[in-house]
């Protein structure tokens, strides 16, 4: 009985890990595709979409530039998505630990997420 329960739990954990792997893979592939698309635009049009030596670095200008398919803005979007992939990793790990009924690690990983997000917010406003 105990054994059966354990097996069931292990199978569930395996499934959770597979799902996490899928989510992370999709995240990285999306970032890579957007960057590739930006590079193709850049070399296809031969223009960056901005004056020489300028690239967008604030959220609003990147979003509006991406909508207008300006190569540099698309590249920045892709790079930003790539920066978010480690955050995604932490978020899905919390989900995994909760699913595995591992309270201790759900808490530990949540602490990591809080520190990370706080540091990113400081990074956005600071310097």
């Amino acid at each position: 009985m105990q054994n059966q329960k354990q097996n069931h739990l292990d199978a569930e954990n395996k499934e959770v890990e597979l799902v996490i792997g899928q989510i992370l893979r999709v995240g990285v592939i999306v970032a890579a595709v957007v960057i590739l698309f930006g590079l193709i635009l850049l070399f296809g049009t031969g223009s960056t979409g901005y004056p020489a030596g300028v690239h967008p670095s604030r959220i609003m200008s990147i979003v509006s530039g991406t909508v207008a398919l300006k190569p540099y803005a698309v590249l920045m979007t892709g790079i930003f998505l790539l920066i978010l992939t480690p955050v995604l990793r932490v978020v899905v790990s919390i989900y995994a630990f909760v699913k595995e009924h591992d309270r201790l690690y759900a808490i530990i990983t949540s602490v990591v997420l809080v520190i990370l997000v706080a540091a990113m917010i400081i990074g956005y406003f600071g310097k």
Binding site: E17, I20, G21, L24, R25, G27, V28, A31, A32, I35, L36, G38, L39, L42, F43, T48, H55, S57, R58, Y72, L75, M76, G78, I79, F80, L82, I83, L84, T85, P86, V87, R89, V90, S93, A96, L104, Y105, I108, T109, V111, V112, I115, L116, A118, A119, M120, I122, G123, Y124, G126, K127
Partner: protein, 280 residues
């Protein structure tokens, strides 16, 4: 076009090496960008941070699938590195970085000496299966399948507080000196906590992306990140890291260590020289 090819190839090389060793590849990328392409150092550092994330995310997918990394060790120690990185960023300007370069440089040299001794000593000793109270309580012990030895390896970790302190130091180093601290992370797990080298490297790969994400945000929004540099570099690295994860798993641990030692020694020397005001 020529520049694009150079960036893609540099990324490819850095991605392969980074995924194998659990390091960010900044030591390859920064010289190529500054010396060969003549880019200012702050742009090169910004690109290196993106490179760290690309290496980390590219390799973690494979290492997670193959059960090579230890998610609990990663998340537990990640508290130390992220807090360390924030502390490092806050106190930067208050402390003499020269002193820190000496300290961390000496630490790396000492570690490479230690690893040489380990290499010359007993032949790939079976990983310790001691029963460490803290490690058991935190459920840090793990298992992985070694494709080179073709067997399942169960391992337990020891000296968790020591590893935690070292990780805190690694975090401070990355926050303060702007370096990816993959080598320190591998040393903390492999040398201090006695975790086998392969899962140490894979786990370091996962962790360094999380640590780098915060500093990447700084560079992204303050304008030092050049999209035409970071973009091709990231693509090259993602491909390289995918290759690297395959190579690492079939390499015998001894060979892995033989590649790791000169890299750590080189980085240590580089930091010592930087402490004396010479950079190369």
């Amino acid at each position: 076009m020529h520049e694009l090819l150079l960036l893609l190839l540099t990324g490819l090389g850095a991605g392969i090496l980074g995924a194998i060793m659990g390091i960010g590849g900044g030591m390859i990328i920064t010289p190529v960008l500054t010396v060969i392409m003549g880019l200012p150092i702050q742009y090169a550092i910004a690109a290196s941070v993106i490179a760290v994330i690309a290496t980390s995310s590219g390799s973690t997918i494979a290492y997670l699938r193959d059960d090579m990394l230890n998610l609990r060790v990663a998340m537990f120690l990640e508290i130390a590195t992220t807090v360390g990185a924030v502390v490092g960023a806050i106190v930067s300007g208050l402390v003499n970085t020269k002193f820190l370069y000496w300290l961390f440089g000496a630490l790396l040299i000492f570690s490479s000496y230690n690893m040489v001794r380990k290499l010359l000593g007993k032949k790939d000793a079976a990983p310790a299966t001691t029963n460490d109270a803290i490690a058991s309580k935190l459920r840090l012990n793990g298992t992985y399948y070694d494709k080179a030895a073709m067997k399942q390896v169960d391992y337990s970790v020891t000296n968790v507080p020591g590893g935690f302190v070292m990780m805190f130091g690694a975090g401070i180093a990355s926050g303060l000196l702007g370096i990816g601290s993959g080598a320190f992370k591998v040393i903390a797990m492999d040398t201090i906590m006695h975790m086998p080298l392969k899962p140490s490297s894979a786990t370091s790969n996962l962790m360094m992306g999380v640590t780098a994400a915060a500093s990447a945000t700084v560079y992204f929004f303050n304008g030092s990140l050049q999209p035409e540099i970071a973009g091709p570099l990231a693509i090259g690295i993602l491909v390289g890291a995918t290759i690297g994860t395959r190579v690492m798993q079939v390499l015998p641990t001894r060979v892995l260590r033989m590649i790791f030692i000169p890299i750590v020694a080189y980085m240590g020397l580089q930091m010592l020289f930087k402490g004396f005001g010479v950079s190369f």
